[in-house]
């Protein structure tokens, strides 16, 4: 858990030289605002302890004051992530809003209008729209395992590797901030691929994009740099 926090902190610090979540599509105040004009509370459920005076559920007598762990759950800090869970880590948190009602679950196009939402296909819309990620980029798998075992045309990883070394930096980036970030820094527990492996959700305009077309990505679209951060192509 500490490791993840450290990683997140590192990523957060690495990103801090940019204008961050404020004013981005993830700044929920673009919709409206609560009285305290908060930004973070919508995703990072506050750890309120409102339960003064021994508040307990009437029907659940044997439970002491219980804390729900919205995303620091077994999916987020799981050290036993051997089994592949497509929603491992923060991905679950993303999808709790990107459900098609609160936030769009249809991408690659204008999510607000009448788009072909049935088309979760190549050049279509709707990542994860049919509830499965089979035709989207996979998440929830072990990157380090794939790196070690997917040798492509040769058995010699060093020569014909399909994926880049997790310890390598996101070197395709010209930005000095992401240039010091390693691939493993954006993996859950330094190995599991999640939504947050490509998307820096706290960053309004990474790499100098404007908020409209940045997609919160770590890498640039130009020359598919975001892909070649990991894929050796």
């Amino acid at each position: 858990m500490k490791k993840i926090l450290l990683t997140l902190l590192m990523v957060a610090m690495a990103s801090s030289s940019f204008a961050v979540v404020e004013g981005s599509k993830h700044d929920m105040r673009i919709l409206d605002s609560d009285a305290e004009v908060r930004i973070c509370a919508y995703c990072h459920t506050p750890h309120h302890a409102n339960v003064t005076g021994g508040y307990k559920p009437l029907w659940s007598h044997d439970l002491s004051i219980q804390t729900f762990v919205p995303y620091e759950s077994d999916t987020f800090n799981g050290d036993d992530l051997g089994a592949i869970d497509p929603m491992a880590g923060p991905s679950l948190l993303c999808m709790s809003c990107h459900d098609g009602a609160i936030a769009p679950d249809a991408y690659y196009g204008d999510p607000g209008g009448n788009i072909g939402v049935e088309a979760d296909v190549w050049n279509g819309y709707g990542v994860g729209q049919f509830g499965d990620m089979t035709n989207d980029h996979p998440i929830g798998f072990d990157y380090t395992y794939s790196y070690a075992n997917d040798t492509g045309m040769s058995t010699d990883t060093a020569v014909f590797a399909e994926l880049r070394d997790p310890a390598a930096t996101l070197a395709s980036q010209t930005s000095d901030v992401y240039a010091i970030t390693k691939i493993e820094d954006v993996l859950l527990n330094e190995k599991i691929m999640t939504c947050a492996s490509c998307h820096d959700v706290h960053n309004r305009d990474p790499l100098g994009y404007n908020a409209a077309d940045g997609y919160f990505l770590y890498g640039q679209q130009q020359d598919s740099q975001v892909c070649t951060m990991c894929h050796v192509k």
Binding site: D32, N50, F68, V117
Partner: protein
Amino acid sequence: MRTECFADRLCYVVLMVLLISLTGCAGQRTASKGPYTFWPGSDLPRIQFLTEVNSNFDVIEQQRGFQLISFEAPEKIEFEPIIKPTGVTVHKGKLYVCDAGRTAVFVIDFVNKTFEKFTGAIGRGSFNKPLNLAFSDDDYMYVADVNRQEVLVFDPLGGFVRSFGRDELFKPTDVAVYEDKVYVTDAKDHHVKIYDRLTYKLIDQIGRGSDMSPERLYIPLHMAMDDKGELYVTNTGTGRIIKMDRDGHLLMAFGGMGNVVSLFGRPRGIHVDDQGLIYVVDASHQNIQIFNQEGRLLMFFGGSNEMRLPASVAVSTENLEFFQQYAAPNFELERVVYVSNHFGDKRLAVYGLGQRRGVDYEAEYRLIREEREAEIAREKAEAEQAQEDGAAAGQ
């Protein structure tokens, strides 16, 4: 003697195998024999998991395998998975599931074992992304379609009547009907918009006071209506549940953003049952919390191993006899609770609210309450004593 017995058994087994292969296997799963999952615990259980539905094959009777006397080819049944069920509604014993992933509404009749795709949504009545639906007293169906930015109306026979709200609705997420009015939550414009059922004209919009109170609608996502016509809205932006009358007057509010019991992370679906219990789905806590009419938490159930991005809940007193077969032997069902999940292996989960036979729950709860009050009093006295001691030591 022993071998005879064995031979008998063998005979029986062979006969059974023959019987099964001759008649074909019914696809319908049999009632579970346990182990049973209870909430809040197995000593005073109130909720039991009953069964799940992920496709039509979990509902319908289907003939599989070889049939001895059959001159017709077995009917081929298309596989109809439930993918992203955003809304569940019970109407006259049938379960209506809005599936945004399949862009369809499925109508499930558990008792008669049918699972049908709603056929009225064709032509101008086609869905684009149906999120929730509601019925009027005279069986007209109203579907909130967030991508069409409209509410679609279907007559009791399933024929498309018309759509409305194109000019005023930005993100219609849920709908409710009471007498001659239709109520629509707009998650982008933060209002409940009220339409006349006959003229389809917007007549009012409510829920938006001028102050910045947490009771002001802010991303109202789901809505429930009790039999008095009072509205319960999950205000996702402030994490509160807001109860108001049909004119928008605040009647009650509870909850808030937080990670402890009675608070919410991502409140979604909501339902009020006939005895006034309020069920609130939380996509972040992966559970459902049940409140009484005072907004007091009674219990919660679910959890990250049970629910996967739950979206919607519907509660019914219908079909109790049918679902009793899934219940534990001593557990008597009072309500059926349907829950939809966006991910996981239970896209549609069915739970039973009930009680264990022969247990006086009220007496047990009274005991627990008394114990708890005594505990609180004792803690208070101890704290006072400590304070006095501290003051004495200070002097």
